[in-house]
């Protein structure tokens, strides 16, 4: 299995998904060799702790410098000297290097099937397929169309994605939403795509101290509305700020917490200031683990205003923590959670209407939380792993 990030060295849901899926696959009886591009400075304790129970997951690392969620704008920020027409001279080189090393690893290893997660790993998957002759499954967690919001699609990345999807034996998408995007934009027949919704780890949360952040604010009668995710176009942080402005007109005793970082961070801070709500918007930075869980618990409602969200694991984590969610209709997670508020990402008025009603009526908030929490228990990685095994079996039958 080829991926490029793994907790705790993940910048978003992709690493979380790789962790959840591989652990469940191992539980379901699959032996997984997980190839990472780089020797990360991982917290060995954490890793050992996490994987002690799943002995048959092996980690292979190749050196590299990869950043999973990159847009051309972000790339210009990271590499100001790079030619902005290229996605990144170094990045694409690294992807090629990763593919070369992947071929070498594939020649050494004994396996039945190759599974590659998202575009940075597709060339590695294809290389492994070439040297081994084994079938390739590509797993689409996001496409270039999600990352860019549909404008400014990078042609080189698009070409890599298309090569991966067309040469793969089977495509797995994390939602029906993403399946539609793949069908529409990558010229792949519907039959070749199988939807495997992500899951959520119930034991991955619920650890650490129970100290509630922002406790003083809450005790003073303030409500907390939470955004968790990269501060980037795809995630709709600008809609979150517009929401904050409208909600504050009706419910002034509310704080808006932005947990994450990203290329639009400076822009969002400026926007909050321009709207005169800066003191009501708290930037918490990138949170993980116990800190993130505590933030979910502190919040009265979690918002996912994504413009295009292939899946969206964070609302599931919020529900596990007992905090109700409002999710964009333009998300995969909306396909698996019924007990949630659902709004078009652009409909800030309706979002405001729903959020204010939650803040004003605690029994409503409680009902959403109770049923959402019950429901999310059924959205497991084991289900996802079982579906992946079905995909493997069908691919192996035809190869």
């Amino acid at each position: 299995m080829f991926g490029w990030e793994f907790p705790p060295h993940n910048s978003g849901g992709l690493g979380t998904a790789c962790f959840g899926l591989t652990r469940a696959l191992a539980q379901a009886g699959a032996e997984v060799v997980f190839v990472l591009p780089k020797r990360f400075l991982v917290s060995a304790d954490f890793l050992r702790f996490r994987f002690a129970e799943i002995e048959n997951v092996k980690f292979r690392r190749v050196p590299g410098l990869l950043y999973p969620y990159v847009t051309s704008e972000k790339y210009a920020e990271i590499r100001p000297n790079a030619n902005s027409n290229l996605y990144g001279w170094s990045l694409l080189e690294e992807v090629q290097l990763y593919a070369e090393r992947a071929a070498a690893i594939a020649a050494e290893e004994d396996f039945d099937i190759i599974h590659a997660h998202d575009w940075l790993a597709y060339p590695a998957g294809l290389a492994a397929k070439r040297v081994s002759g084994k079938p390739l499954v590509v797993h689409v967690h996001a496409t270039e169309f999600d990352r860019t919001g549909g404008t400014g699609v990078n042609q080189e990345v698009y070409a890599i994605e298309q090569a991966g999807m067309q040469q793969a034996d089977q495509i797995v998408t994390v939602s029906g939403w993403t399946k539609n995007i793949v069908e529409k934009n990558y010229n792949v027949p519907s039959e070749k795509i199988k939807v495997v919704h992500n899951g959520v780890d119930l034991d991955g949360l619920n650890f650490g101290p129970k100290k509630i952040p922002l406790a003083a604010l809450k005790q003073a009668g303030n409500k907390i509305v939470l955004f968790v995710g990269r501060i980037t176009l795809q995630k709709g942080p600008d809609y979150f700020i517009q929401l904050a402005q409208r909600v504050l007109e009706l419910e002034p005793k509310t704080y808006f917490v932005v947990a994450g970082s990203g290329d639009m961070e400076a822009q969002i801070i400026r926007e909050a200031a321009r709207l005169g709500i800066a003191e009501r918007v708290i930037f918490a930075g990138f949170l993980r683990g116990a800190e993130l869980e505590a933030m979910y618990r502190a919040a009265d409602i979690y918002i996912l205003p994504s413009v295009s969200e292939p899946f969206g694991i964070t609302p599931l984590e919020s529900l596990v923590a007992g905090t109700p969610v409002l999710i964009s209709k333009q998300s995969g997670v909306a396909e698996v959670v019924k007990h949630a508020l659902k709004v078009d990402f652009w409909d800030v008025e309706e979002m405001t209407n729903q959020v204010v009603t939650v803040l004003r009526h605690p029994p409503f908030q409680q009902t959403l939380a109770t049923y959402g929490q019950q429901e999310v228990r059924k959205v497991t990685w084991l289900e996802a792993a079982k579906k992946c095994l079905e995909v493997y079996q069908s691919v192996l039958r035809f190869s």
Binding site: L250, K338, H339, L341, K342, E349, E350, T352, N353, Q354, V356, T357, R360, H361, P363, F364, Q366, T367, L368, T370, Y371
Partner: protein, 422 residues
């Protein structure tokens, strides 16, 4: 359920037949359309005092729904029944029609009113009593309940010139104290669900006596036969499909000796709305009396006639609330989650303040917000018996139903605050 007389009695059936009492058939059709709350938003509080005037192309548009259901059900079904009253002078049927439905028909479907009036004028169709606003007020505010029953009786008197003699509470909800109340209020009968879990060995095909009453008769819905018509009729996977009038009449006759009365209670919308015309439901209805009358002793009765004719065979103790809804047959579709109980409490807590204003508009808004459907739309029992709930829900989710409702109530509160206090 016994499906055939032969199976039950074998060769004895011919010799004992003369000794058996043939069961009478009581058909009661519920007619109700709520005034659905439009997509009322937080921004509308204090700005818009009309909660029920959605004019979109959605199922929140009450006028649109009345037009649609009148065309598909009320008009054609009433024509079939009128025809039946002419063909069979002995044919009988019963209706319960909520006040909010009658009001909407007066505004948007006078033809429905006219046909219902013609039916009642035949003397073959009885009108039952219920709450004007199709509310659950019996369980939340007895004085308010009595008021709504009086409002309904006045409306029925005005439109049909009759006084209801038999009572049915919203969603067939019932508890012992409703039986006691109905007797004191002068009714001859009261209706509820005949659910096995409460009946034990007792049969729904007899009349019963609520504890502590003397004269009033308790009618129990035969849910198996009723649901064969109302729910299963058009279901092609059902092993009895297609259900013919002949077969159904045979099932009714199979109860000879095993009961005195078969109560077929269902929504009137069964005809043409829940079961579409192309399922053959109208032909079935039209053919049913003829098939039932093929057994010469069989008859149809109004509920009042049945209450006069049959004795209560036993006392029936129903101390907890019974309804005709879902597999639980309780109020959980209306009160099963926290937002529902909160919404109900919020609206009934307003009672003293609303009544104190003596303002007709405010009181009427408050009553319209008591209609049980508002709370039904907030039902979260989606995964167990969800299909029925989703089908009847004009909102995208129970949560959107709550949002519209609670913000309308917030506006009503705001309007109440504007009324000068003496």
């Amino acid at each position: 359920m016994a499906r055939s007389g032969e199976e039950m009695f074998g060769s004895l059936s011919i010799s004992v037949k003369v000794l058996l009492i043939m069961p009478a058939v009581c058909m009661y059709f519920q007619v109700h359309q709520p005034l659905r709350v439009k997509k009322y938003r937080v921004f509308d509080i204090g700005q818009d005092g009309d909660y029920f005037n959605d004019d979109s192309e959605t199922n929140l548009n009450n006028k649109r729904i009345v037009h649609k259901v009148a065309e598909k059900c009320y008009v054609p079904a009433s024509k079939v029944l009128l025809d039946l009253t002419r063909r069979y002078p002995e044919f009988r049927a019963n209706f319960s029609i909520s006040g909010v439905a009658l009001e909407q028909f007066e505004r948007w479907s006078p033809e429905t009113i006219d046909l219902l009036q013609q039916l009642v004028a035949t003397g073959q169709v009885e009108i039952l009593g219920e709450t004007y606003h199709h509310s659950l007020s019996f369980f939340y505010s007895p004085p308010e309940f009595e008021h709504q029953v009086k409002l309904h009786a006045a409306k029925v008197k005005k439109l049909f010139g009759v006084k209801p003699k038999v009572f049915r509470n919203t969603e067939l909800s019932y508890r012992n104290d409703l039986g006691t109340w109905a007797e004191q209020a002068g009714y001859d009968g009261v209706l509820t669900e005949g659910w096995d879990h409460w009946l034990g060995w007792k049969s729904p095909n007899f009349l019963y006596r609520p504890p502590g009453t003397k004269k009033i008769k308790l009618f129990l819905k035969n849910y198996k036969l009723s649901d064969d018509m109302a729910f299963r009729f058009g279901e092609r996977t059902w092993r009895e499909w297609p259900l013919t009038a002949e077969k159904f009449a045979h099932w009714i006759s199979a109860h000879n000796g095993a009961g005195e009365i078969i109560n077929l209670f269902m929504d009137y919308e069964t005809f043409g709305e829940h079961q579409w015309a192309d399922s053959g439901i109208f032909d079935f209805l039209s053919a049913l009396p003829g098939e039932v009358y093929k057994h010469p002793d069989n008859r149809f009765l109004t509920l009042s006639e049945a209450a006069r004719e049959f004795e209560a065979r036993d006392e029936l103790d129903l101390p907890s609330i019974v309804t005709w809804a879902d597999t639980e047959r309780d109020l959980s579709a209306w009160t099963g989650n926290e937002m529902q109980t909160y919404a109900l409490k919020t609206i009934y807590d307003l009672e003293p303040v609303v009544l104190e204003t003596e303002n007709k508009n405010l009181i009427e808004s408050w009553r319209r917000l008591q209609t049980s459907d508002h709370f039904y739309y907030m039902c979260t029992k989606w995964f167990a018996d969800g299909d029925v709930h989703a089908y009847f829900n004009p909102y995208a989710s129970p949560y959107e139903a709550f949002i519209a409702y609670i913000n309308a109530v917030a506006d009503l509160k705001w309007r109440l605050e504007q009324v000068p206090r003496s």
